[in-house]
């Protein structure tokens, strides 16, 4: 992990911040550390799509609720941008911790979700992690996952997408308990890379699963 991080120092991660509050954007910009280079900002859905297309960032820090567009907020930005920018990852950022908001952006393709009260070093770590192709789960998102997929491990192979494996459940539980990836790795006697693999697998399931709790959420909120 430390090696991976020190390699990042040489190559700054190019980031676009999308949030409709200028005061929050400037605060976040000040909070991000030297490994990150903010190359653009946007305040609405249209601006965000234009800026992302123009500067090709590696990571977009994306507010879930945004004015403009067709009213879809962050979801709309992701679906509009991912078509022609496959190299860009999205990290959702929100004050809202309502399940439908979180699950909606994750299912639209965001690589992670953090709340706006997150500290400067934490969000910088999260950005680096997303830039490396990993997933970022907050304790609350892990809680949603456990709520939606259930806390019993998968036994049958064919509902693989709809259940979490025993190991994935352990990882999710520890994240929900407030453990960092490093602490999860230590607790389970596995490497950080393995933790990241598990989290990415859970993210994929969260995005692709047709488990009825997830589809019900989506259907109720007309997200499908």
């Amino acid at each position: 992990m430390m090696n991976a991080l020190s390699e990042q120092v040489a190559r700054k991660v190019r980031v676009v911040i999308v949030d409709d509050h200028a005061i929050f954007r400037s605060g976040l910009k000040a909070d991000l550390d030297s490994r990150i280079d903010v190359v653009g900002e946007a305040g609405t859905v249209e601006q965000a799509i234009a800026v992302i297309a123009e500067v090709h960032p590696e990571v977009v820090l994306l507010d879930v609720h945004l004015p403009g567009g067709r009213g879809g907020g962050g979801r709309e930005v992701i679906s509009a941008s991912s078509a022609f920018r496959p190299g860009t990852s999205f990290l959702a950022l929100s004050v809202s911790d309502a399940a439908e908001d979180v699950v909606a952006v994750i299912r639209a393709g965001a690589r992670g979700y953090v709340t706006k009260t997150i500290s400067g070093p934490e969000i910088s770590d999260a950005v680096i992690r997303v830039a490396d192709g990993d997933a970022v789960f907050s304790p609350r998102l892990a809680g949603f996952v456990l709520d939606a997929f259930g806390t019993a491990p998968a036994e049958i192979a064919d509902d693989e997408l709809d259940r979490l494996s025993a190991r994935e459940l352990e990882v999710m539980r520890l994240i929900a308990r407030g453990y960092s990836y490093k602490e999860v790795a230590k607790e389970l006697f596995i490497s950080i890379k393995t933790v990241e693999t598990h989290v990415s697998a859970v993210l994929r399931k969260l995005q692709l699963s047709s488990r009825h709790e997830l589809t019900k959420w989506a259907a109720e909120r007309r997200l499908l």
């Binding site: 911790d97 304790p139 609350r140 709520d147 019993a152 929900a176 308990r177 407030g178």
Partner: protein
């Protein structure tokens, strides 16, 4: 005994014969409704004074519902206290004021008590038939009754009554809100009333009684009515649309007012407090956290989620600790379960653990609650310097008694795991009896 102050407001009663005017008046005056009705009928013979008075009251006096709605908009009216009086008032001698339909003095109650009229329509119909019979008998005897004007007049009155009753406030609400079937019934009645009135007017105006002439006049008048309707229809539609949009605007305005009221009571107050306490960082953080929590509950509260369950109690305990220590306590809960005495103990132990974490941890506290069919688990984690549970002195009741001992007594376990990177308290309460336990996790396994 009944002073003006204690009089119920003058409203039209729901115990109605025609429009509830008489019983409303009786309530207001404290007289037996029978006599009011009798007086009204008698007054009608005095040149129709009773009828005119009745009609005037019908138009001017609101129904009980209307009046209640109006008063609720102006909750405390210092100008007209009698208007905003609640319907049930205690009399000075301490007894409850009798219900609106009973007599004021208990001794005469049995004499004056009137039952709610159950067969109002039937009685009206009977009276009408009796009147017709009387007229027929009078004709037999040889008295000259001007039937030519009487029948059309009766038709007009009856039709108008049927149509107007539709427009009475309570019925109108029903007309708009109730099911389609009711609405259709309402329209049929309106049409019947209209037809009666039109027919009555025609017969009265033509005055001949000749069927052919009446038929012609009817055709002509229908044509005229149709023409007028055709001309007025766009106006009517526009008026209706304006009314609808105005109503929608009013609903939005009410919603906005509710949100504004809430923001004013909570957020603006907190912001004001924060400005005044700007010097103290801890106070500001505490205020902001408390306000955030409150606003979150208000915005994202899940109506489907039952209240009073374990997850809510744990969140409440976390909020309490947050307020007491000024450190954020984040609660993540998965699944939920009904509260029992044992769960009460779990909440108390968790609260103690949160207090300790906030007091000694010196930073954010993470709380994770998981409830499933096998039991409930609570994890409380802080990032403090840690401590060795074995070195806690005997006299320190916090950990030993409130957490470990309490969990043991209720058949649970408490494990404290502390290192230099933080402390985690793990509380586990297994389900006592699998058959009895009600699981709320909602997961099919």
């Amino acid at each position: 005994m009944t002073t003006a102050m204690q009089r119920p407001p003058l409203v039209r009663s729901s115990d109605r014969m025609i429009a509830g005017v008489c019983s409303g008046l009786a309530d207001h005056l404290g007289w037996p409704v029978k006599y009011v009705r009798l007086g009204m009928v008698l007054a009608s013979f005095a040149g129709g004074a009773g009828l005119a008075f009745y009609a005037w009251l019908w138009v001017m006096v609101p129904t009980a519902d209307e009046s209640a709605r109006r008063n609720s908009r102006r909750p405390a009216s210092p100008i007209a206290p009698s208007v905003s009086m609640p319907p049930e008032v205690t009399t000075p001698d301490g007894g409850e004021r009798p219900l609106p339909l009973s007599a004021p003095a208990p001794a005469f109650a049995s004499w004056f008590r009137t039952r709610p009229i159950q067969y109002g329509k039937e009685i009206l119909l009977g009276a009408g038939l009796l009147l017709v019979a009387a007229i027929l008998i009078a004709r037999q005897i040889g008295v000259d009754v001007p039937l030519g004007t009487l029948i059309p007049a009766a038709a007009i009155l009856g039709g108008a009554a049927i149509a107007w009753m539709q427009l009475d406030e309570t019925r109108r609400a029903g007309l708009v809100d109730k099911t389609k079937a009711d609405q259709a019934g309402g329209w049929v009645r309106l049409a019947a009333g209209l037809a009666l009135v039109v027919a009555g007017v025609l017969v009265m105006v033509s005055g001949s009684g000749s069927w052919e002439q009446t038929w012609l006049a009817l055709l002509a008048s229908i044509a005229v009515l149709g023409g007028v309707a055709l001309v007025l229809l766009p106006w009517g539609l526009k008026f209706w649309k304006d009314l609808e949009s105005e109503r929608a605007a009013r609903v939005r305005e009410t919603e906005r007012a509710e949100i504004a009221a809430h923001l004013h009571d909570s957020v603006l107050q907190t912001l004001a407090l924060i400005q005044r306490r700007a010097g103290s960082e801890q106070d500001v953080v505490r205020l902001a956290r408390a306000q955030e929590r409150e606003l979150r509950t208000w915005l994202y509260r899940d109506a489907a989620k039952d209240s009073g369950l374990l997850a809510e109690r744990i969140s409440a305990a976390a909020a309490e600790v947050e307020d007491a220590h000024g450190h954020a306590v984040d609660v993540v809960s998965v699944g939920d379960t009904e509260m029992t005495d044992r769960h009460e103990a779990l909440v108390l132990a968790a609260r103690e653990a949160m207090h300790n974490a906030a007091r000694h941890g010196g930073g954010a506290v993470s709380v994770y609650l998981e409830s499933s069919d096998t039991g409930s688990e609570v994890f409380v984690r802080d990032r403090g310097p840690g401590f060795d549970p074995d070195t806690v002195p005997e006299d320190r009741l916090g950990v030993r008694e409130s957490i470990v001992g309490r969990m043991k007594r209720h058949g649970g376990t408490a494990v404290i795991n502390s290192s230099s990177e933080g402390t985690e308290v793990r509380l586990r309460l297994p389900v006592e009896n699998v058959d009895k336990a009600e699981n709320r996790n909602g997961e099919a396994r």
